[in-house]
């Protein structure tokens, strides 16, 4: 793949070459099992401990509050299912939002089939949780509030501080899926009163297949994967040492350059938004203009369908996405776009462009021109546009 423009960093990122470099010795050289007693294992163990410490520090957490998982989905499943199990005697009610990732939503669906009740709190038209609705949803038997830190499609940043406060006041646990936010926004688990937090390395220029769950000390939990004594008996399975080292390296890297990187991306993002709004008619910015991830741009183009747009962009070497990467292949428009009140046909025409550390202004200029051309072409082809122009044109 030469000369393509990658604007799908919310789906996954390029693993930074330094991160791969850091991982390499742990495949064929220091390959010992960290649970073993000999020196070869001790090297792996040390590497795992260092990664854990880096991550703990990045969140203001303690080392033994970090548990490695195979990614964000496992962390979300673990947080919800284990909490549900451990606190079932207190209550069986869980609160979440309508715009969570499927890893949370489908886990909630599973819990509903198993005797739990779930309240899905609405968001406003910008994709921000309605705090009043959250307050109203709380019941004596509520055991968990799970609201994402920032949404993967809209980039909308949730009022995590307020949610944490509300949860704490009511003695309810607070889990946040920070898969999109971690590494982009500063997060302090004490300041935000977060009890559990999920993250995934491949969203911050780390490798795929590794992530972690932060669990505040003192919280009752249960294992999700049972077996060996890894992760203090909480998560079985031979440690993915290269993956953990990669996650640690990606984390260190992301936190070192966070301010500089996000400043840069925020400027590029706003440039991209402005030019699209100026140059392409009948478009709508989805998500909050201010409370938004620095790298997220999401537009709906009326009369145009997302997949066609994506394929045509791909033909020009531009990688983008229409809604969540996970839902492609499904025919329904994304639940997130519907939750902010977009009509189906407009939701179908959404385009998500998510910037990365290598994104340049030149790439965006090319992309803007490409979108303008393609949207024009697809509208020419669109019976909806024809009807609209006949009525209003």
């Amino acid at each position: 793949m030469e000369g393509f423009i990658y604007l799908d960093n919310a789906a996954t990122t390029k693993t930074a070459p330094e991160v791969v470099e850091a991982m390499l010795p742990y495949f064929s050289e220091h390959y010992g099992n960290p649970s073993s007693i000999y020196s070869l294992g001790a090297e792996s163990k040390k590497a795992v401990a260092e990664a854990r410490e880096t991550i703990a520090k990045s969140l203001g957490a303690a080392n033994n509050e970090i548990y490695f998982t195979a990614g964000g989905s496992e962390a979300d499943n673990w947080a919800l299912k284990a909490t549900a199990e451990a606190y079932a005697s207190k209550g069986k009610h869980i609160i979440t939002s309508r715009i969570e990732h499927h890893a949370v939503l489908h886990t909630c669906g599973y819990l509903e089939k198993n005797g739990y009740e779930v309240t899905y709190v609405d968001v406003d038209e910008n994709g921000i949780l309605k705090l009043d609705d959250l307050r109203k949803a709380i019941r004596p038997d509520t055991i968990l509030i799970s609201v994402m830190f920032a949404n993967n499609e809209l980039g909308s940043i949730q009022p995590v501080r307020e949610i944490g406060q509300i949860a704490r006041e009511h003695g309810i646990l607070f889990h946040t899926d920070a898969v999109q936010a971690y590494g982009q926004l500063p997060i302090d688990v004490d300041e935000y009163r977060i009890d559990m937090l999920s993250a995934s390395a491949h969203k911050l220029n780390g490798p795929k297949g590794i992530g972690f769950l932060y669990i505040r000390k003192g919280i009752k939990t249960r294992s999700f994967i049972h077996g060996g004594q890894q992760e203090r008996g909480r998560r079985a399975g031979t440690e993915n040492v290269p993956g953990i080292v990669g996650l640690g390296a990606a984390c260190r890297r992301a936190f070192e350059r966070m301010e500089q990187k996000t400043d840069r991306e925020r400027k590029l993002r706003d440039y991209l938004i402005r030019r699209i709004e100026e140059e392409i008619p009948y478009c709508r910015l989805n998500g909050d203009r201010e409370r938004r991830l620095p790298n997220n741009v999401n537009f709906s183009f009326r009369f145009v369908e997302g997949e066609s747009l994506l394929i045509m962009l791909d033909m020009k070497g531009i990688c983008a996405s229409s809604g969540s990467a996970c839902t492609s292949g499904s025919l329904d428009p994304s639940h997130v776009l519907l939750a902010i009140g977009l009509p189906h046909e407009i939701a179908h025409g959404s385009l998500r462009l998510t910037l990365g550390e290598e994104t340049t202004k030149e790439e965006l200029d090319i992309t803007i021109a490409a979108i303008a051309e393609i949207v024009g072409k697809l509208r020419e082809m669109s019976p909806l546009y024809e009807d609209f122009m006949k009525k209003n044109g």
């Binding site: 997949e307 066609s308 025919l331 046909e345 082809m381 909806l384």
Partner: protein, 147 residues
């Protein structure tokens, strides 16, 4: 995910556009489901499809099946056009991914809807033609239960 034929018809759609004063126009699908197809037919006194155009709002497969369907009916008699099934469209495109089969059904339906319009306008009966359904999104292939 798409065959080369599909990609070709998507990139270079044949017969895209409108026909003024068409003999028959059919629009099927709905925006809610993400695809709408409109077919324009120009049919002469001998019942031969002289020209055909389409407009489509939808995914790559929707555009490609519209384009291929127009190719397949162009120059045919109305009765021959009735035999252009979704299977014929799919085969001509070297197949479609399972989740996209419904697009070929939509294309078949769009031709039928345009023929129905032509038949109504001209008060004629076309053997085997039924009033078009307003929504053909039913019975999609489903994975087994997920939980």
């Amino acid at each position: 995910m798409y065959s080369e034929k599909v990609m070709d018809h998507f990139q270079n759609p044949r017969n895209m556009g409108e026909i003024e004063n068409a003999s028959g126009i059919g629009t099927v699908g709905n925006a809610k489901c993400g695809d709408i197809m409109r077919i324009y037919l120009d049919i002469d006194e001998d019942g031969i499809i002289r020209d055909v155009k389409f407009k489509t709002f939808g995914c790559g497969a929707a555009v490609a099946t519209s384009s291929m369907a127009t190719e397949l009916v162009k120059g045919k008699t109305v009765q021959e056009a009735m035999e252009v099934t979704n299977k014929a469209v799919m085969e001509a495109l070297d197949g479609l991914p399972p989740v996209k089969v419904h697009c070929s059904l939509l294309a078949e339906e769009a031709i039928h809807a345009a023929l129905w319009d032509y038949a109504e306008k001209n008060g004629i009966h076309i053997e085997g033609l039924e009033k078009p359904k307003s929504d053909i999104h039913e019975g999609e292939e489903q994975e087994e239960e997920e939980y």
